[in-house]
Amino acid sequence: MTKLTFIVNGEHKQVEIEPGEMLAEVLRKRLGLTGTKISCDELECGVCTVLVDDLPVLSCNYPAIKANGKHVTTIEGLASDGNLHPLQEAFVKKGATQCGFCTPGQIMTAAALLKEHPDPTIDDIEYALNDTLCRCGAYPAIVDAIRAASDKINHGTPIEYPQYEFEGGHKVIGQVVKRPEAVDKVTGAAIYTDDISFPDMLIGATLRAGIPHGRVTRLDTTAAEKLPGVHAVLTAADIPGRVNHGLVIQDWPALVGVGEKVRYVGDAIAIVAADTEDIARQALDLIEVEFEQLPVVTDPVEAKLDGAPLVHQEGNLLKHIKVDKGDIAAGFEQADVIMEDIYTMPTYEHAFMEPECSVARVTEDGRIELWVGSQIPYADREQVAAALDLQPQEVRVRSPLTGGGFGGKEDIAGQIHAAMLARSTGRPVKILYSRHESLLVHPKRHATRIKVTLGLKKDGRLTAAQTELFGDTGAYASLGTKVMGRATTHSTGPYIVPNVKIDCYAMYTNNPPAGAFRGFGALQACHAIECMMDQAAERLGLDPVEFRRMNALRENSITNTGQHLTESVGLLECIDRVEAEMLQSTNGAAPFAAREVKGQPNKRRAWGFAVAFKNTGLGEGAPDKATAEVELLDGGIAEARISSAEIGQGLVTVLQMITSQELGLPLDQVRVLLSDTDLTPDGGPTTGSRQTYISGNAVRHAANSLREQMAATLAEKFDVPPDEIKFIEGLAQVREEMVPVTDVVALMKQEGKEPKVVYEYWAPKTFPLGEEGDKHFAYSFAAQATEIELDLDTGEVAVIRTIGATDVGKVINPLGFQGQVEGGTIMGIGHALTEEFIIEDGIIFTDYLARYRMPSIHHTPREIKVIAVEHPTSEGPYGGKGVGEISTMPVPPSIVNAIYNACGIRIKTLPIDQDWLALELRKKAK
């Protein structure tokens, strides 16, 4: 044994070695540094490259003793302070790593190269890497990565994901294609959760508190248990694991036990499994429960007052969210005009068409299998497992088709209950909420009150904006902190404002919880600021469009959170295109003037205008990633797998298109498998308009790597450069020869390569409020014009025509895009005119669908003009960013502004109160 003393990755090491031991072995076995790989062990492949005193050596045949007293650097030593070395970052982003086995050697070789040639040419790179082999054929990407890393080191240029061509050039992306699951949906063959049943399945039902605030003093289930046909009656005492659930803060008990508090009418007290629904309901009636009633707080402003009844022990303030930019006092001092107003928006209900349903059963191997139309399958898995005291892998969550979500299917509904009942009875259990129960239980849109104060120069420039928001987050946190966070950052609009101050209070009350809902707080914020902008324009005597254009965010603007917008800011184009379209419809006449309607003296028409912006993705520091798997199956079919929800928005179509585009396969040779936690990796939540971007990117990168592997295999076999191989319509074109993809798959398998790539995509990093750095990695923008007709006698308002332009970066699936805008527009019309979830002292009035007026076909305008504006983001898939939420946002303020233009009455409370409006109109007429 000899003693070897050297410095490895900056640390002094001393090891006993056998004579003749090679460096690679010492590193791997004696020091546990297994990052360095051995492939040929004969100085052929370069995979084992490490640096000795900054020079590359092939460690597999480098006698370790030669390193005595020297500095050795391995792949593990490259990163510093937890930051990836530029080379590592570049390899990830440029897709230069496929199977990854050669990667350490490639990177170490490149590191040596960059030490010698900080700014290598392509030739330098190719020369240096000449003897470092890659079987996957990632060479072009490796060259690219090294160039990018050197640019970063030398010039600080950020490393970008590879660029894809925009506009045209895409065979699939941007083309009109059919939704793959549409046939099933029109023939009744489409399966939603409630369509699943088992022969011996039991029906579960839930006893609800029925009072908004109180302590459970007695709970007796004996009579219910004795009822024939009842198989289980469970209470909080039967929860084996974590009692509380919650996506951010676990404060929501799955069941409220004796001595514990109920905090809203929908809190669950007990659950029952029985042979039939009738018996289950009878059993609920037999459960005896008594409460000590507690005082109720239902208004977020009152909830903040001293002495308000406490919903949670720690106080009613869920979160105070702040934004400070510039000097607000100075901003108001510079202003010629200061305006202030308060806008309120009620609670809104998602009213997805499919009520919540969970089906659970225990599998033969003792795991829980759960079917649920969920927006976040992996979160369900985690939350069900925690409640049942299981490991997440012991739960399998599968999402059948989901009949709409809009944010309302992110939290736990019946998932935990169904799983508990299935475990307790050993039989499959279905819990289907009636519409009544659905209305009662799931989180709603935050009722919000927003005070807006603007400071303006006479010429229209904004000098200061201050807002104060109160959001009613109801009994439990759900996503309240995040939703109100978004309300905060969007509350001064997509405008350049040098001085900003925002205070937002997310308050607990005894109302139903409020959580995610299309627009996610930004909708409320948009409404307030856009109403105020019209008021300000009028006060200053400016055209509301021109006024917005003057202040609009554009490239290189700084947002109110201090984010420097470097690209993809299409707001001005949205404004221009909508204005042009609007002027065309009025033949150039002033669109915002009230117009009479021929033959109907009691009617007036006018246009109203508003703009919006909305972040894509989670943002504000939340790590945002998705993992996708793409595999080529025998028969030349590609399957993309990811747990991301298809809730009607068309994700399956988008992922199918992306896979098809990347692999050069016809659409019908691509399958998409979503949301099965056993079979598909985590795509993250369906929220924040993030799926096309994040899951889309994960699938895109996975498919792209797979294509490169195919190309590499062919390149090898036919001895052509991989980039000369094209994939068209399921065939690989190698020189003159067309090779069917099936043959490529066979070839890969023969060579022992699995034709499958798993790709974990990380969205660009964001930073929380209060920290430096970007809050979001992308924003979508929109402008909206809405023409309304007002009945001056009755106060009835009808929307006649809408024009909406949305900057989504790149339209990937045009039909899906239109569908999102049209559907979002109608939802916006509903929010403005008909919808209101009414709660009185914590008791829900709108507990039947008949009482929640969602828009019917009669509310559809004569025309919904959908304009796509494409200002691509460099990182988004083909330049794309989110569209799911923004389409609803500018609609309500555009309607309110139109009504003002039609009659001079300004509405500050949503929904627009026809009574109030009619009576005001009468006062005005007198």
Binding site: K185, G403, D915
Partner: protein
């Protein structure tokens, strides 16, 4: 929900059952109100339903020699709205029936049922009171007749005895010198039902009003007349001044309350607005201006298809024998369910969806003997001896129905949950009106809600399907 379900084939059988079961029984006609009331626990103790919808001739609309119109207890809103006789000689009633909204409800809901529910917001009562209607109540013991205004005694209260049923509604047909109209204000937040409504029937002698009936709904616990306005109008010509004065007087009759559908102040004010509008239209003789010439009924059946043999489901003693999508089915379980649940759970035909189970969303639309209905409001035994078509039966052989094709091509499908219901309504519409205009499409699809698409592409898909069907 029910223990026994009876389907008699003549009225005497029905009355005998009522006499026997008394409070424990209810007559069910369309069931659109009753099923909801039972689900909400508002009809405790009702264990027996006596379904009169299979009794021949109960859906007749007749004119007698004395010019009285007689409505049988099974006259549905759609039957009345589409009846030439009612449109020509009782227009306010036709208008009220048409206003009910969802065609699937109009195909099942009856006018007699409205009187029994006796909600002041029920649209049909207001015109019937204005028309001077009387109701005939029958029991096994005999019959009695009451003026409608006496029959209804308060909110959801009436004079019906446990052994009685409404056997007929009658009123004088409007003559040539009479004009009438119904006007409804509705569709505000919270509820689709009327915020208020008004009916007027005026008799003229050479341009001068000789008799006036003005009734108001949803402004008081029962339907009320506006006596001062009525008296004032007699002897006057309908000049703008007279109309204004009469409208102001009508307001005095209103004694509304604040509720979540509207404030009292608004309702009072609106009485004036709609009285003025109604009288103005009557003055111009354009009261039927907005009444559609061709109504999309979503029904290809004109009249009741009677049962040959009575079918009594006492407990589970009888199988439901029915035909679904052309195939015979026999169900020995599930008679206590709704038709929707029977289809989904017993027949495993899960294409039909439940969105609300309260008749609001249309996701459960199927055809019952050729008429589109909300299957969540139809008792399962009603399927006995009937023919049902569901979404699974819409395809013609291997061919998708044209609306199925265009729903796919025009991207009228998003989450897809509402889609089966829309397709059923749309296909029925095209059967009835091969080239519907946009308005007719909207009317036909009023009963179907979609939260995803915004309806825009749905309308387009129906238009395109119509074109495709016509091209063959």
């Amino acid at each position: 929900m029910w223990k026994n379900y009876y389907q008699p084939v003549d009225l005497d059988q029905a009355l005998a059952l009522l006499a026997e079961k008394q409070e424990a029984a209810r007559i069910i006609a369309g069931g659109t109100d009753l099923i909801l009331e039972m689900e909400a626990g508002l009809r405790p103790g009702v264990e027996n339903l006596i379904d009169i919808s299979r009794i021949e001739c109960l859906d007749e609309i007749q004119l007698d020699e004395e010019d009285f119109i007689h409505l049988g207890p099974m006259v549905t809103h759609n039957l009345a709205a589409a009846s030439k006789l009612i449109v020509e000689q009782a227009l306010p009633l036709a208008q009220a029936c048409w206003e009910v909204g969802a065609p699937q409800i109009r195909n099942r809901g009856t006018i007699a049922g409205n009187l029994i529910t006796a909600s002041p917001a029920n649209d049909t009562i207001t015109p019937l009171v204005a028309l001077g209607a009387r109701v005939t109540l029958r029991s096994a013991q005999g019959a009695r007749q009451l003026p409608l205004s006496e029959f209804i005694t308060g909110v959801r209260k009436n004079q019906l005895r446990p052994d009685e049923m409404v056997a007929e509604i009658s009123f004088p047909a409007m003559r040539n010198n009479q004009r009438g109209m119904f006007y409804k204000v509705g569709l505000r937040k919270a509820q689709a039902i009327s915020v208020l409504n008004l009916a007027a029937v005026l008799t003229f002698e050479e341009g001068t009003v000789t008799k006036a009936a003005i009734t108001l709904g949803a402004v008081a616990p029962t339907i009320v007349h506006a006596p001062e306005a009525e008296a004032y109008l007699v002897g006057k010509q309908l000049t703008p001044e007279v109309i204004g004065e009469a409208a102001d007087l009508a307001v005095k009759a209103a004694n509304p309350i604040d509720d979540l559908r509207g404030t009292a102040a608004y309702r009072r004010y609106m009485v004036g607005v709609i009285a003025r509008r109604t009288l103005g239209r009557l003055a111009d003789d354009v009261q039927n201006e907005n009444y559609p010439a061709k109504l999309p009924l979503l029904s290809s059946r004109q009249r009741i298809l009677p049962l040959i043999e009575e079918a009594d489901f006492e407990g589970g003693n009888k199988a439901i024998e029915t035909v679904i999508n052309g195939k015979p089915y026999r169900f020995t379980t599930g008679f206590e369910k709704t038709l929707l649940d029977l289809l989904r759970e017993e027949a495993q035909l899960t294409g039909t969806k439940e969105g609300c189970a309260e008749g609001e969303c249309g996701a459960c639309t199927v055809y019952l003997d050729g008429a589109a209905v909300m299957s969540c409001l139809v008792p399962a035994p009603r399927a006995h001896g009937a023919e049902i078509v569901t979404i699974e039966g819409l395809k013609q052989g291997d061919q998708l129905h044209p609306v199925q094709q265009t729903f796919i091509e025009d991207a009228a499908v998003q989450c897809g949950y509402c889609t089966p219901g829309f397709l059923m309504s749309a296909a029925k519409l095209l059967e009835e009106i091969p080239a519907p205009n946009r308005e007719q499409i909207q009317q036909a699809l009023t009963g179907n809600l979609c939260r995803c698409t915004g309806y825009y592409k749905i309308i387009k898909a129906v238009e395109d399907a119509a074109k495709r069907r016509q091209m063959g």
